[in-house]
């Protein structure tokens, strides 16, 4: 006899399993206690109406998003996490691709002109309510990742792929987590889910809060485990209050962790385990490196018992993983996996003896403080400015952000003065693109190098 199909596990079940019902998620603005979710809501009666829908989560702070995820996983058919710096001009296309028929928005009004049947605000704190029992659904989680043209790609996960690295692992004491990441990105979402599925609390950043204020809260709330990008951590080195912080575990991910930042953190936190993790929105969590060195041991390559496998092909890291995304959404979306089930991460690897070292990204993609930047998107904005004939955007190594964006610009024979063009380029990039995509340095050059195929010569 086949056993009856079991109900899908939802996020709220993971939260309940963690015991200690006083645990919570907090920003500077407020807190959500896990215990309260069974008899309270931030959705003001909209939860039932959102059941079975494809729901865009847009705007609001991290507490808003945390509440919406805990209330709607297992209830909605699909949850689309819009990152805070999402350009609203892409919303229409995202709604269409995700077949979204509802939007849950932060305290402010929903964005106008969106073709959805239902708009509902999500406003912490939790307020007491009688919650109807709703049928359980296996909710799809959609994460956004940058695409070449600026329109984000929609990456489909579910709770199983997202929690595969730690769900079912024996509880390892109380881990009080904090992260510098935003939970609407893969790196931050991993920490959010670890905290929910664990036995401790979670401390999140607030927009507008200074780093020292955040670290003060982290100390006051007894945080033991904390994660961020190498760029976040380089900024922590400028903090004057961090000396009083004594974490047990410090995690870096999202960018190349070099020997300098690993060494500096080991010195700053002598009693902590300093680890760097490799993950991508598409391939999921890959692995963790605990030996304090940059790169990873070549012994990590090959097959694991759980179906995880890693190899280097054409210079880039390829991963097959049960934690990988299911697919991209959309009719014209590229295929995620090759015929053998591997995902090309686009991260270039250099093998040095028994060590694999990260050597940047393929195709000129630039990683600024953990955010992926496609040069083509910035070149398109620059090339529209009066007097510009052509441009080439590339990475320049930065000790603060890993890399910054720089642009080489060729002017028309008749063009405004260089300073005027420079100001116009910066103003246009600031208006149309995320701040980290504005070139840090603009150089005017007589010509750009082409490769033999007549394309702009990009490094890497």
């Amino acid at each position: 006899m086949p056993s009856p199909p079991s109900e899908p596990i939802a996020l709220i079940d993971l939260a309940r399993r963690g015991g200690r019902l006083d645990r919570d998620i907090a920003t500077a603005a407020g807190a959500l206690r896990f215990a309260d979710f069974s008899k309270a809501t931030c959705l003001a009666g909209a939860r039932e109406k959102l059941a079975g829908r494809s729901v865009l989560l847009f705007g609001g702070d991290q507490l808003t998003i945390a509440a919406a995820l805990l209330e709607l996983d297992g209830v909605a058919r699909r949850l689309v996490l819009c990152p805070p710096d999402l350009n609203p001009k892409h919303l229409g296309e995202i709604v269409a691709t995700a077949e979204a028929d509802a939007i849950v928005h932060g305290g402010e009004a929903p964005p106008p002109d969106l073709d959805v049947a239902l708009a509902a605000p999500c406003r912490p704190p939790l307020r007491p309510a009688d919650l109807a029992a709703l049928p359980r659904l296996p909710t799809e989680w959609i994460l956004l990742t940058s695409g070449t043209t600026g329109v984000p790609k929609l990456v489909a996960h579910d709770l199983a792929t997202l929690t595969g690295a730690f769900a079912g692992a024996p509880a390892n004491g109380v881990q009080n987590w904090a992260t510098f990441y935003d939970i609407r990105r893969y790196g931050g979402l991993q920490i959010f889910l670890r905290a929910v599925a664990g036995a401790g609390s979670l401390t999140l950043t607030d927009p507008g809060e200074t780093l020292d204020d955040f670290i003060e809260r982290v100390i006051a709330r007894g945080v033991t485990h904390i994660s961020g990008t190498p760029s976040h951590w380089r900024r922590v080195l400028m903090s004057r209050v961090v000396a009083r912080f004594k974490p047990a575990y410090v995690r870096l991910s999202g960018e190349i962790a070099d020997a300098a930042i690993l060494g500096a953190l080991k010195e700053l936190f002598p009693s902590a385990r300093v680890a760097h993790a490799y993950a991508s929105t598409e391939a999921g969590l890959g692995f963790e490196v605990n030996d304090g060195e940059a790169g990873f041991p070549a012994a990590y390559l090959g097959e694991r018992d759980d179906g995880f496998a890693m190899k280097i092909e054409d210079g880039s890291l390829r991963i097959r993983s049960p934690r990988a995304a299911r697919r991209y959404l959309g009719g014209n979306a590229p295929t995620l996996r090759d015929a053998d089930g591997f995902i090309d991460t686009g991260d270039m690897i250099e093998r040095r003896g028994e060590r694999c070292i990260f050597a940047g990204r393929r195709g000129g993609v630039i990683n600024v403080g953990g955010a992926k930047v496609h040069p083509e998107e910035i070149e398109a904005v620059i090339n529209r400015q009066a007097g510009v004939r052509a441009s080439l955007v590339k990475a320049r190594k930065s000790p603060i952000a890993g890399a910054v964006v720089v642009a080489d610009v060729v002017l028309e024979s008749v063009a405004p003065q260089e300073e005027i063009v420079r100001d116009a380029i910066i103003a246009a990039c600031r208006a149309e693109l995320a701040p980290y995509k504005t070139p840090a340095i603009i150089r005017f050059v007589p010509k750009l190098d082409m490769n033999t195929a007549g394309k702009l010569a990009r490094d890497g």
Partner: protein
């Protein structure tokens, strides 16, 4: 132009471009309260390297990172003196 003035003028420029409100640049101003975020510092350090030819942040981490504006200027003064 003195090194300090070069640094001040670059900081003001970055703040203007990134639309950040800058705190008065006193020596004891904590860098984290200057109004500049990580991206601003990354841009600033790249531009200062182009203008004065040194990037003390990329040097081996023998000295602690600066935490105030005064230490930041000193960090560059020491690096220029060492060249």
């Amino acid at each position: 132009m003195s090194l300090r003035l070069t640094i001040v003028s670059q900081i003001e420029r970055v703040a203007r471009e990134q639309r950040k409100t800058l705190a008065p640049l006193a020596d004891d101003l904590p860098l984290l309260e200057s109004g500049l975020d990580s991206l601003c510092f990354a841009i600033l350090v790249a531009r200062l390297e182009d203008e004065i030819g040194v990037d003390p942040f990329s040097a081996p981490p023998e000295v602690a990172f600066p935490t105030t504006f005064g230490e930041f200027v000193k960090f560059y003064e020491n690096a220029v003196a060492a060249v």
